[in-house]
């Protein structure tokens, strides 16, 4: 600090005292400022680390999801090879019990009771229906299944007649607004409409997919968007995201939300067809918006060809990166990473100016990359946790630069100070990470012990970080996170078993091996999805025979090395057998992680 020493300048005593005082104050201020800036930077970094953890785990789960899709494809291909005693199972799995019934057949099954006081839609829909829905949803009413079905059928009809690409015109007096992922966060949609106005002929919108899953109002968002689309089909554009997929919905919460809100399970099977894709471009000539798409009617048994399916994944799952070229998206397990050279090539080829896409959560709600040619916009604020990120939307028109609007929903009437918010998301992220660790405990210990030649129970930081990254498959700043996960001695060496100290998986049955418990815990989301698909009447029960068969098939595809007899023993001992059927939800719920220092017993990370 270059503060001049005023005493050396030989000033008079009274002014010297005053100057000395102010010099002291200056120095003191510098100390405080310096300290604060360091503290603030570390706080922001902790926030970033937490986000990195959330994102890594999310993408790793997506890998799991794609692996599950592969599992079903594997089963489909092996249909003829399935042994004799299991044909019933596979028919249940792949025989589509859903014929394309008539709209009237479905609607005829439902009656709206007089006691229903939720919103009532009137077809043909008008803007008053949009207002009606918004008001009703603000009061947390639920739209009756009858209207839901009507909207779905109508939307399907209109979408099937539309082309894959949509062109739209803009002008400085008619800007278009582009929104990214909403993921069932109704408050964010309300905020956007409040700040930016409702959709109309003069206020067009594009929604870039991922309307559902994770948030708790996927259904309401979908209804508002579909109704708005039906009222303004040329001004409200819906693009498909990777979550517009019934298998994703089973893992990530939309299916669960439906089953919870609408107890009429058997009626809600018609899958939602969606056109369009999240890629949207702006024509160099200035006025076109283009939506790429692959049309699919979505039903599981009406397969796209393998190549078409891979194209869909490429479009819906890829992410831009700084490295040139195109290479597999190893984080997510599907799609690719594409570099700025790829972007330039494609944009030039089709004479387009810009690519606006979503799919990735950004701390500021949006991000620009590839020299301004690619914009990522994400509209679900607090996506991972309260305080994790802002949401944003873009307004643009031909000839003007895009304008960005950011926001963040907060439940508290006044903001909590930053350090409290960071603490909250940090503990949440670390908690998730610890659950990951415990679900791979056996593999981790094996990897640690391989490096621990003299069986000291300790490893160097480098050795520990290496094993963690390899076994968990998560690209995280392990050195920086180590203080949250393990204990380190004064030489900087890590006691690797300390990472498993305050977490364990509750053993539903004492006698069963830990590795089996771990495995079931690790794959519980996949297993739940598989069981739900087998359970075609949504009773929550499947036969013991089907339960065992599915486990065996799963085991072989996922190369899980667990004795069949062990699994059988587990199932029997858990005594969830109800007349030869097993309640699989009860079964899976019994595998949960206990955090030692929790007041609650169960882990917060729920099954989707």
């Amino acid at each position: 600090m270059n503060t001049p020493n005023l005493e050396d300048m030989g000033c008079g005593t009274s002014s010297a005292t005053k100057d000395k005082k102010s010099e002291k104050a200056l120095k003191a201020a510098l100390v405080i400022q310096n300290w604060y800036r360091g503290y603030s930077a570390r706080l922001k970094t902790r926030q970033r680390y937490a986000l990195t953890i959330f994102q890594s785990i999310e993408y790793a789960d997506e890998q799991g999801q794609l692996q599950l899709s592969n599992f079903f494809s594997f089963m489909l291909e092996n249909y003829t090879n399935v042994p004799e005693k299991e044909p019933g199972l596979v028919t249940r799995l792949f025989g589509s019990s859903i014929q394309d019934k008539d709209r009237q057949d479905y609607l005829g099954l439902i009656e709206i009771p007089d006691s229903y006081c939720g919103p009532r839609l009137q077809f043909p829909l008008t803007f008053t229906d949009i207002d009606l829905l918004i008001e009703a949803f603000k009061q947390q009413q639920i739209l009756h299944a009858y209207y839901v079905l009507e909207v779905l059928f109508e939307t399907k009809k209109v979408l099937q007649q539309m082309p894959n690409f949509t062109h739209t015109n803009t002008s400085p007096s008619k800007e278009i607004t582009i929104c990214g992922d909403l993921h069932g966060k109704l408050d964010d949609l309300f905020l956007i409409f409040y700040k930016n106005g409702l959709p109309s002929v003069t206020n067009p919108y594009v929604f870039n997919g991922d309307f559902v899953d994770r948030g708790k109002n996927s259904m309401e968002i979908l209804m508002i968007l579909f109704v708005s689309f039906l009222v303004y089909p040329n001004d409200l554009h819906l693009n498909r995201g990777n979550h517009e997929d019934f298998m994703m919905n089973m893992r990530y919460g939309f299916t669960k939300e439906i089953l919870h809100k609408y107890k009429m399970r058997s009626v809600l099977m018609p899958p939602i067809p969606m056109d369009g894709d999240r890629a949207e471009k702006k024509n160099k000539l200035g006025t076109a918006t283009v939506a790429l798409g692959i049309r699919t009617s979505g039903s599981f048994s009406e397969q796209l060809t393998k190549q078409e399916w891979e194209q869909v994944i490429d479009i819906l799952w890829s992410d831009p990166r700084g490295k040139r070229g195109c290479y597999p998206n190893t984080n997510r397990g599907g799609g690719c990473y594409f570099g700025p050279d790829i972007t330039s090539k494609i944009l030039n080829k089709y004479q387009l100016k810009m690519l606006v896409r979503s799919h990735e959560c950004k701390p500021e709600g949006y991000e620009i990359c590839h020299d301004g040619k690619v914009i990522t916009v994400f509209s679900a604020s607090n996506y991972y946790e309260e305080g994790s990120n802002r949401g944003a939307y873009i307004r643009m028109s031909s000839g003007t630069t895009p304008r960005f609007f950011q926001y963040q929903i907060t439940k508290a009437t006044c903001f909590r100070p930053l350090y409290q918010r960071v603490n909250a998301i940090e503990s949440s992220a670390i908690r998730m990470l610890k659950e990951r660790m415990i679900s791979r405990k056996t593999d981790l210990i094996r990897a640690f012990q391989l490096q621990d030649r003299n069986k000291s129970g300790k490893l160097s930081m480098g050795q520990w970080a290496f094993s963690m990254e390899n076994v968990l498959g998560l690209n995280l700043p392990w050195r920086s996170l180590s203080s949250h996960l393990v204990t380190t001695d004064k030489d900087g060496n890590i006691d690797y078993m300390s990472g498993f100290q305050d977490v364990h998986i509750q053993k539903p049955v004492k006698e069963v091996q830990s590795s089996l418990i771990e495995t079931v815990y690790r794959y519980r989301s996949d297993l739940q999805i598989i069981f739900n698909i087998i359970d075609s009447d949504h009773s929550g029960l499947i036969s013991m025979e089907e339960f065992r068969s599915m486990w065996r098939l799963f085991k072989s595809h996922y190369s899980v090395h667990i004795d069949d007899s062990q699994f059988d023993e587990l199932a029997e001992r858990m005594d969830l057998n109800k007349d030869g059927s097993i309640d699989f939800n009860e079964f899976l719920k019994a595998f949960y992680v206990v955090h030692k220092f929790d007041q609650l017993n169960k882990s917060d990370t729920k099954l989707a």
Binding site: L30, V31, I32, W35, S480
Partner: protein
């Protein structure tokens, strides 16, 4: 045997450097949004501080000049950042302020020894003296430091709280 001693010392330093490299890489990568080994120059201060160093704004300015391109692009490349940052860590430069010095700094600004600073006083010092805070920095500090009832900052409690939070 002097040679062995020297070798041992060298080896130790090699290992230390390797570990620093990995640590620096981790901190850098978190801000490398496009995964192309560059970060926005505006985030370099945060990265350096996250590695435990506490340069003043002036010192930070000098550091940035060292790692910037000849023609500043607004981005800092990892290849330039790594060697400079490694030196900083090896030389243990820009050590953080110990808790007691911080406390004394607050006490200097509170000559009447009341045990607190009023909101206005803190704002005046932080935004007018030293290396002044931006409005955002000021608001951020106030949100956590201020006791809303008395509209003042009880600095001893504040410091204790922050120190606990970091550990």
């Amino acid at each position: 045997n002097l040679n062995l001693l020297e070798d041992g010392k060298e080896r130790k330093e090699e290992v230390a450097v390797a570990e620093f490299h990995k640590k620096i890489k981790e901190a850098f990568e978190v801000f490398d949004h496009e995964s192309n080994n560059t970060v926005d120059v505006r985030e370099v201060g945060t990265i350096i501080r996250s590695l435990g160093c506490c340069p003043s704004e002036g010192e930070l300015h000098d550091l940035i000049a060292e790692v910037e391109e000849e023609e500043p692009t607004g981005y800092i490349r990892f290849e330039k950042f790594l060697p400079v940052m490694t030196e900083v860590l090896l030389e243990r430069r820009y050590r953080p302020i110990p808790e007691d010095i911080l406390l004394r700094a607050f006490e200097v600004l509170d000559p009447a020894k009341r045990g607190f600073l009023s909101k206005d006083e803190l704002i005046k010092y932080m935004t007018e003296e030293g290396e002044p805070f931006s409005q955002e920095e000021m608001e951020e500090m106030l949100s956590a430091a201020i006791d809303p009832e008395s509209n003042s900052i009880h600095y001893k409690d504040y410091i204790t709280m922050m120190v606990i939070d970091e550990n």
